[in-house]
């Protein structure tokens, strides 16, 4: 880009601007400098070290939340934590894939990529469950197309037209292939 911003700015202005800011602007910026800490360079102790690390896992723990659903735990820790979320326990094929993923550590692609695969299968399971419960997913609402229509109409129409064109093209292509196959026979 010929007219790029970096080609248009004046050089060697950094300290000029910083000094001008500090001389003129900072008085108008509420709170300027009030939390400055010269010792925060670079290892300001955001961790207030008190030796607790050396207790390792030998600390006072809360009571254990009853484990009444299937909860996976990372193999990098000995057991389930004292509390845990109970949202969406593993189920069906995606659950079986997740079960397999949790056999591997958090340092492995086998763990994370398998979980991603399970997530994608879970989406299909979700759709099947919706149908089973008599719920028909409404993309107009659930994908936010209503908002897209309201605030981004030209792009929305363009994308819808391109999608429709591609689908129609695909169908026609398939049909013509079928016809030519039939003709050859």
């Amino acid at each position: 880009m010929k007219n790029a911003l970096e080609n248009r700015i004046e050089e060697f202005q950094d300290r000029v601007i910083a000094n001008r800011n500090m001389a003129e602007r900072t008085k108008d910026i509420p709170g300027w400098g009030m939390d400055a800490d010269p010792e925060n360079d670079p290892t300001y102790p955001m961790k207030h070290s008190n030796g607790a690390d050396h207790q390792r896992l030998d600390y006072e723990k809360a009571p254990q939340q009853p484990i009444d659903i299937e909860i996976f735990h990372s193999i990098e820790r000995p057991s389930v934590t004292r509390v845990f979320g109970t949202s969406t326990p593993p189920s069906g094929l995606s659950g079986a894939i997740r079960r397999h993923a949790y056999k591997y550590s958090e340092a492995t692609a086998a763990h994370w990529m398998t979980l991603i695969l399970a997530d994608r299968i879970d989406v299909i399971q979700g759709k099947l469950n919706d149908f089973k419960e008599g719920i028909i997913p409404n993309p107009w609402i659930e994908r936010g197309w209503k908002a897209e229509w309201k605030y981004n109409r030209p792009a929305f129409i363009r994308n819808a037209a391109i999608t429709a064109l591609l689908i129609t093209g695909g169908i026609l292509l398939l049909k013509s292939k079928k016809r030519s196959k039939h003709f050859l026979q």
């Binding site: 950094d14 509420p30 709170g31 360079d41 008190n50 809360a62 979700g126 981004n152």
Partner: protein
């Protein structure tokens, strides 16, 4: 009850048939949500980029609410208290919590040791349902939830659950010295806060880089920053070098994370092929834009398993990397004081207020940056119930 229900990437439902949460542990509380936010990091879930995000989950880690019930072991919190609930779920007694690393609790997330427990953030953060709902189960209720100070606007209170402390910690991690030039990549809510707070640490220049003009304009007003559009640049790294006298920035803050844009290679490998956890362009630019011996503060969220980043440059330039999930409870006293003293009014970043029923629109608009959205608030139907 009504709650957000994740149905797969780019598809969420406002579901009226979600079961109400129950007390599962003596230290639990049940909170009736009064305000809930959609976070930029929720978009990583929405875009299907975070592993173990299960269909049927309710997102939302930024919320305030009224305590409706408490478990037998809860001593401090009382029914009727109006609280802000930090996004970190923290036990208060593990070594990390004892050392104020509340974002790294060891007793709230069984599924991953690489993260603490967070509300509504998939099973890599403990599998808790989140606050984009009418009611939420809040574990370890006596540790992090904090009564909203009298006189504090509820919108400022809800922003204190994540955005404000996260932006503050981004600046704090930068180890900013008086007069430093600080470059913030990303003018989203966290980047705006980071830029604004950089001045609190004595910055001499604050530069914000993004590609959305309406956000850059807001950064100039809200964060008093110089703001530039990288679409107007051939190479943002050359721009930063040139504007810092060919020296490099003292501090760079990556406030973008894995949903960046600006590099075709990163887009293909990170978003299309999923060969890395999203697009790490901001991280790449930040490392390269720093001076030798500079400090990199990473606050943008990256998912597992890995990202393309120039580690060799980190080593050769002697860059110090400082990063963590915000430790909200540690920062609350200071930030409450900054707000109550009028030094900052975070709610200025809220651009949209939507009923919880419109949660699919909120996600779509936030994801596509429609109607100049910066930060949406969701208001559940029972928010104002006496």
């Amino acid at each position: 009850m009504l709650a957000m229900n994740f149905r797969g990437p780019f598809q969420v439902r406002a579901d009226r048939n979600r079961p109400e949460p129950e007390i599962k542990h003596p230290f639990d509380a049940i909170v009736r949500v009064t305000r809930s936010l959609v976070c930029g990091s929720d978009l990583h879930l929405y875009h299907g980029m975070v592993p173990d995000t299960r269909v049927g989950m309710t997102f939302g880690h930024e919320f305030t609410g009224v305590v409706e019930a408490v478990g037998s072991g809860v001593k401090k919190l009382k029914v009727g208290d109006h609280v802000l609930v930090p996004f970190n779920i923290a036990c208060g007694s593990c070594p990390h919590c004892k050392q104020e690393l509340y974002g790294n609790c060891h007793e709230s997330n069984p599924e991953a040791t690489a993260a603490g427990g967070f509300f509504g953030y998939a099973h890599i953060a403990g599998g808790y349902d989140g606050g984009q709902a009418e009611y939420v189960r809040v574990p370890y209720a006596d540790v992090s939830p904090t009564k909203i100070p009298e006189g504090m606007d509820i919108e400022n209170a809800v922003l204190l659950t994540d955005v404000v402390p996260t932006g503050y910690q981004a600046a704090e991690q930068g180890g900013i010295q008086k007069g430093d030039t600080v470059v913030v990549f990303g003018a989203g809510p966290v980047g705006l806060m980071a830029a604004r707070f950089a001045w609190f640490f004595g910055a001499g220049r604050v530069i914000v880089i993004d590609h959305l003009d309406y956000r850059l304009e807001f950064a100039r007003k809200f964060a008093f920053a110089e703001a530039y559009n990288f679409k107007e640049m051939n190479d943002p790294v050359v721009f930063v070098k040139k504007t810092t006298d060919y020296f490099g920035a003292d501090v760079c803050i990556d406030a973008v994370g894995c949903d960046a844009t600006g590099s075709t290679l990163q887009n293909i490998t990170g978003k299309a092929l999923l060969l890395q956890a999203g697009n790490a362009t901001a991280l790449h630019w930040a490392i390269n834009s720093l001076k030798k011996g500079g400090i990199l503060s990473i606050i943008g969220v990256y998912g597992p398993p890995w990202n393309l980043a120039p580690i060799g440059s980190l080593m050769n330039k002697g860059i110090t990397v400082r990063t963590n999930q915000a430790s909200v409870k540690r920062l609350l006293p200071k930030l409450i004081d900054h707000i109550m003293s009028g030094r900052i009014n975070p709610k200025e970043i809220i651009t949209h207020r939507l009923p919880l029923e419109e949660v699919p629109d909120a996600y779509r608009m936030f994801s596509k940056k429609l109607d100049n959205m910066i930060k949406p608030v969701l208001i559940p139907p029972r928010a104002n119930m006496a």
